[in-house]
């Protein structure tokens, strides 16, 4: 087998300890955001201010790792300057790339900071090579993060038809995966990742405990009821159980996690440039466990190539932190398109 370039490992950092955990455990790059609605994980108490940002960038870059800044929500009418300031701040800080979704902001960044490396966010929802090449032609985008709706064959088709680097998700909670185009959170709360930087914002979520069960509501909408021994999931519409034609079940999506360990050799073979781990909202403990495991798997792939096999210990470590306690290959191995 021709030795392929190993995909980079891109890990989430919602806090300074999480960033350090990612770097210490073998991430090639971390991605992070400001403490405001310019990024799609705008959760209370999460993310970076100027001080932690400066320290985080120094910590990663002095160890030869990259820092990618997500500014991947859509500028809201009348507040475009807030998003432009975020891009200016990232450029001044010397991050290695910014991850953008909005074409207006991509245009601004490419004109104002021609040397700033641009990545197209998953929220930009580019699923075809035409869309990826458009972003390259118009804004000089160097890398695109593909939404998790594509099969592996479709990912390969994109890679074969573009010179833009392609990044895909390798691990983390799955949703309906219609990234950048999903209206479910807006339907229930009037707010969504695109507009306020959070899916199903916490202020709308109620966990109600009663004897023998826990009820979850999102802005009053009943999402699910769990028995005392049943695992819980994130309180989003797409992971709720609903009554459809007299049957109550996960009508949209079962709480589950993506895990690509099994198809890592395929991912490397088709030329994926980077693998992203979901979960900036998770703790340093999660970042440690997932980064360490994926690093071990990637290093094993580099060492053993076709003799690569998934170690049970890796799967056990990842299963522990998986939402819904089950991991799948998501859309990658789906027979239909």
């Amino acid at each position: 087998m021709q030795r392929q370039k190993l995909p980079e490992l891109i890990c989430p950092a919602g806090s300074l300890p999480a960033l350090k955990a990612a770097v210490d455990n073998g991430a090639d790059a971390v991605y992070l955001g400001y403490k405001n609605d310019t990024n799609a994980r705008n959760f209370a108490g999460l993310n970076f201010d100027e001080k932690t940002l400066g320290e985080g960038v120094r910590y990663a870059q002095s160890r030869g790792r990259h820092v990618l800044m997500a500014i991947n929500t859509f500028p809201q009418p009348g507040r475009e300057a807030d998003w432009q300031r975020a891009v200016d701040g990232a450029a001044a800080l010397g991050v290695d790339a910014v991850i953008l979704a909005d074409v207006g902001l991509l245009d601004y960044a490419s004109r104002r900071h021609p040397d700033l490396r641009l990545h197209l966010s998953v929220q930009g929802s580019a699923t075809s090579y035409e869309a990826v090449n458009f972003a390259q032609r118009e804004f000089g985008v160097r890398r695109a993060v593909l939404p998790r709706v594509l099969t592996l064959a479709q990912v390969e088709h994109v890679i074969r038809n573009t010179t833009v680097e392609i990044e895909v998700f390798g691990f983390g909670s799955l949703c309906v995966m219609n990234e950048g185009r999903c209206w479910l959170s807006s339907y229930a709360t009037g707010e969504s990742p695109n507009t306020v930087g959070a899916c199903s914002p916490a202020k709308y979520v109620k966990w109600e405990k009663s004897p023998g069960q826990m009820t979850t509501r999102l802005n009053g909408v009943l999402i699910d009821r769990f028995g005392d021994d049943e695992p819980a999931g994130y309180p989003t519409l797409c992971k709720g159980r609903f009554e459809v034609n007299g049957e109550t079940y996960y009508a949209l999506e079962e709480p589950t996690s993506l895990n690509v360990l099994e198809i890592l050799p395929e991912i490397a073979r088709i030329g994926v440039a980077a693998i992203k781990v979901e979960g900036r909202q998770r703790s340093p403990a999660y970042v440690t466990q997932v980064t360490r495991t994926l690093r071990a798997a990637l290093d094993a792939l580099a060492r053993e190539s076709e003799r690569y096999h998934v170690k049970p210990a890796w799967q056990a470590e990842l299963a522990k932190v998986s939402e819904g306690n089950q991991a799948t290959l998501g859309a990658y191995n789906r027979p239909w398109r």
Binding site: P17, N25, A44, G45, K206, P255, S283, P284, T288
Partner: protein
């Protein structure tokens, strides 16, 4: 962060909590608030997060020891509440092993929550602030310990 030791998942026998619930609860609250105030004094807790805790009531219950601690945050200090509020703004409940795993960053709070080993009740956004505040603490490094490296 490699763990030199790991905290197993365990549950103390029922008689421990039967005794624990009969003991006075204020020492727990006093110890916990003293620790939190020390962390705040050392600037380990981010100021913007602390501001959102103002005047809110918290309950931490260790199920298998029967210990509870109630406290609030007012005017820059965590203060014990000697009478437990009927409905605290936020309540954390778990067995001792889960709390220890959380504090040592051995387990992820979301994992414990999904697995129903950690119960969080009350104001969900406040819960998120507290969770993220604890995650963001940079524990001072103890000299002499080998630094983890990749």
């Amino acid at each position: 962060m490699r763990q030199a030791f790991s905290i197993p998942r365990f549950q103390l026998p029922a008689f421990v909590s039967a005794i624990g619930t009969r003991l006075p609860q204020w020492p727990h609250a006093l110890a916990l608030t003293a620790a939190l105030n020390a962390a705040a004094r050392m600037k380990l807790l981010p100021q913007d997060s602390l501001a959102t805790l103002e005047g809110r009531s918290f309950l931490v219950e260790v199920l298998d020891t029967g210990g509870t601690a109630c406290f609030t945050y007012r005017a820059g200090f965590f203060r014990p509440l000697f009478g437990a509020p009927a409905t605290p703004d936020l309540a954390f409940r778990a067995n001792l092993s889960a709390f220890l795993q959380l504090l040592t960053r051995q387990e992820d709070p979301d994992t414990l929550f999904f697995n129903r080993e950690l119960s969080i009740e009350g104001d969900t956004e406040l819960g998120l602030v507290v969770k993220n505040m604890l995650d963001a603490i940079e524990w001072p490094k103890l000299p002499g310990l080998p630094r983890p490296h990749h």
